[in-house]
Symmetry: C2
Subunit: 203 residues, 2 copies
């Protein structure tokens, strides 16, 4: 059947695959629980729906990076609890320190701002106010998470070999990101309102 030794292509996990391995490296979960983790906390920087998760888990299992055990069944299908294999654990560890693919930071808001000069200034202001409020809300939310992390763990947040440290590092990035987003919105709002620092010629 085969006319080549390359008939079977070697497949490496997709980015989603590594995201799932990273979650399973912490503890075993069902596909459903993995999907939930892809809303929060992973959802803050990577999302996926369950329709992507289940096929990906099947692929990871084919590659022997995860394994599952049936635990029980509330619905028409079995409930499967997945755990990471030693090979899977090695795969995440290697992937985690390889430089990421040159990231194209898709930011729809920037695209809109790029064309904002064509729009109604009143509506432009409203958009920026809304974005500012959303960023401020996220900032508060992250602040609450930080407080509870400091309380629950504490010492662990200083040790880079703990999963808590890794979580904390991503949280700090989120905090800085939203803090800057708010500051930028405030600057833009001032500029849109026409607050010039000491204009030489008065109207």
């Amino acid at each position: 059947m085969s006319n080549s030794i390359y008939t079977y292509a070697i497949t490496v996990p997709s980015t989603l695959g590594y995201a799932l391995l990273g979650l399973l490296a912490r503890h075993a979960r069902t596909g459903y629980e993995l999907t939930q983790a892809l809303r929060a906390p992973i959802g803050y920087y990577w999302t996926a729906s369950h329709s992507q998760v289940y096929p990906e888990l099947a692929q990871l299992e084919e590659q022997k990076l995860v394994a599952h055990r049936v635990i029980d069944g509330p619905g028409p299908r079995d409930t499967k609890r997945y755990r990471i294999t030693p090979a899977g654990r090695r795969a995440v560890a290697v992937w985690a320190v390889r430089p990421p693919d040159a990231a194209h930071n898709r930011d729809q808001l920037m695209l809109k701002v790029y064309s904002m000069w064509t729009a109604d200034p009143v509506r432009a202001r409203a958009l920026v106010v809304g974005q500012r409020d959303a960023a401020a809300a996220m900032l508060r939310h992250y602040g609450e998470i930080e407080r509870s992390m400091r309380q629950d763990h504490g010492e662990l947040l200083d040790d880079p070999t703990t999963p808590q440290f890794s979580s904390y590092a991503t949280l700090r990035r989120g905090l800085g990101f939203e803090r800057h987003a708010v500051a930028w919105c405030d600057w833009l709002l001032a500029a849109l309102t026409g607050e010039k620092p000491a204009p030489p010629e008065p109207e």
Copy 2:
């Protein structure tokens, strides 16, 4: 043939379509020139390859938001210069101030950091150093652009009705973003090296 008045679905431009309209709102361009703009400056927050641009232009033309005129031909096909129509201009202006779709900020680096605790600390450090340097290089690059913008235009950067203002606003976001990225990498590097602020119990 038709059993419904809804046979013809109304189609609105995709995000890429609006990106193209935003570029054409500034001045007329060929598909090739639009593709180049989608590397820089738009490429800093939105990318697309020419294989996406040409079909999208055809769709925008079908929707009467752009129009083209053949100018000459170096290759086997005609060279087409596209300009925005009044309807296209109205479409961008409206889109620009509508809240963006709830953005899922995909950040592969954060995903890697989330699993960094499983990895070799030496390689982890190397990854973060590399990311820090890349962010610092971008920061310098944006700084140069800012200087040339201030020189070329200057007054215009204070007027929200000019395209230069819009460009400047996105640039400022980039500057803040990279500045924070560098600071965060520095923090992470210190944490990975094990610089604790006055540890109570010595080893």
